[in-house]
């Protein structure tokens, strides 16, 4: 064993980590090499210095601080820490949350519009059923006619139909299958004819009962949007939406008020629209027949929307025009 090999083992020799053979070889070399003995002694003293260094002591109160830090953190402290996240962390998280919420809102809004359009058109079956047309199967098979379905319409449903704009109808019609389109076209044609006919004729067509059938306004008129708006406002409250065309609007209005009072009803509201006055009244349901008959003496009376059956107290919005 030479000096280099022996010195490589000095550290392990000090720690008594050599095998018996290695130790014998090192001691054999040391017996003949004074320089290596001095080197070994220097390393031993160095190790002794390090091992003899005074111990380091932890600062006072260290144990208490560690034990306190190990206690479970109360929920409100954790929440406060979460709220006080550093900006570099909180800002990207906040931005991501805003984007997520915004995206969801857009998706929900778009879905809602489509569902609304569908729902509006889906409320048509009461009218379509009255026209003896059933909804075509969704797989595109031809529509079939069916026996007259019992008229189930709720007033609210009729109102929703009336409230649906012409644009919605057009848009919805573009998504219809041929059978539904045909039914819609039939419905529109008959509606136009009914609008042109006196209300009493419609009432006569149903026997002695007054005309209580929903009917959309005539399409294609310039004032259609205003009319639809008026209908929608009145439909929020009135059971019957009607129109009274008279040469003198004031005279007709006074006549309506007197008629309502005579029938035991009352005027609930009055408002002025751009081209007409709208008077809202409420009368007993069993006097509606008298109302419809006698108001015809004041002018051309037509019903635009009405429930299938008169409630106990029927609310009527009459649009007075010339």
């Amino acid at each position: 064993m030479n000096c280099h090999d022996a010195r490589e083992l000095f550290s392990a020799l000090i720690d008594e980590m050599l095998t018996r053979e290695e130790r014998a070889d090192v001691y054999g070399h040391l017996a003949t090499c004074a320089e290596c003995r001095r080197e070994l002694a220097a390393i031993e003293r160095t190790v002794s210095l390090v091992r003899g260094a005074l111990p380091v002591r932890a600062p006072a109160g260290f144990v208490d601080r560690v034990v306190a830090a190990a206690r479970p953190t109360p929920w409100y402290v954790r929440a406060a820490r979460a709220a006080l996240l550093p900006w570099p962390v909180k800002l990207p998280l906040g931005a991501a949350a805003v984007l997520l919420v915004g995206g969801l809102a857009v998706l929900m809004f778009r879905g809602g519009q489509e569902q609304q359009s569908t729902a509006r058109y889906d409320t048509a079956p009461p009218v379509l059923a009255d026209r003896r047309v059933t909804e075509a199967p969704t797989d595109g098979a031809p529509a079939s006619t069916a026996p007259a379905a019992p008229a189930p319409p709720e007033v609210a449903s009729s109102d929703r139909i009336g409230a649906a704009g012409e644009a919605d109808r057009t848009a919805a019609a573009s998504r219809l299958d041929p059978a539904q389109k045909r039914a819609e076209q039939e419905f529109r044609a008959e509606s136009k004819a009914r609008d042109a006919a006196p209300a009493d004729n419609l009432g006569a067509a149903r026997g002695s009962a007054p005309a209580l059938q929903s009917a959309p306004p005539a399409a294609g008129e310039p004032a259609l949007a205003k009319r639809e708006g008026l209908r929608q406002k009145a439909a929020e409250k009135a059971d019957v939406i009607a129109r009274l065309a008279a040469p003198d609007r004031d005279t007709a209005e006074r006549g309506v008020v007197a008629l309502v009072a005579r029938l035991g009803g009352t005027v609930t509201a009055r408002r002025i629209e751009a081209d007409a006055a709208v008077i809202e009244v409420a009368i007993p349901g069993d006097r509606y027949g008298d109302f419809a008959r006698e108001i015809g003496r004041l002018g051309a009376f037509s019903v635009e929307s009405a429930p299938p059956a008169a409630p106990d107290t029927i609310r009527i919005a009459v649009r007075l025009g010339s």
């Binding site: 550290s11 220097a42 160095t46 210095l49 091992r51 005074l54 260290f62 144990v63 601080r65 190990a70």
Partner: protein
Amino acid sequence: MQEEAALVVRLRQGDRRAFEELVIAYQHRVFGIAFRMLGNRAEAEEIAQETFLRAYGALPDFRGEARLHTWLYAIASRLCLNRLASADRRLVRSDDEALATAPAGEPSAAAVLERAELDAAVREAIAALPEERRIVVVLRDVEGLSYEEIGEALGLEPGTVRSRLHRARLDLKAKLERFTR
């Protein structure tokens, strides 16, 4: 050994008093490792506290295959080496004051000065070692761990421990030569 096993059982049961006993028993040694590795008392306290908290959180996973103190030293060593490797570590300055030391009886003024000078020299020599050698010499010559325990704590083979320790001692010998002649 039996006391340590009983302490481990109590620790794994979530006995908070046992955790306090653990901190009391090892506070100086864990802090000493951190201080000798980092050279800064505030940073050493932070690392020592983190060591005990990490141990507290990992106690359910402690299977007792290693000695409790070896496990603690392993955590402390990794935390120290990670801290030394961090970028913001370069801004930390070493404490210049003397270490808080144990009382040493009634030595003469000259002996006190001589001892203080020697301790400062040893501390500076250790601090000047490369990190991978420094941790080995601290664990072996200051804390007294065996080669196997050091290898277990640092994830090193015993031969690597032996080699690094030898190089560290040769470095120290060169730096402390005036005290070893």
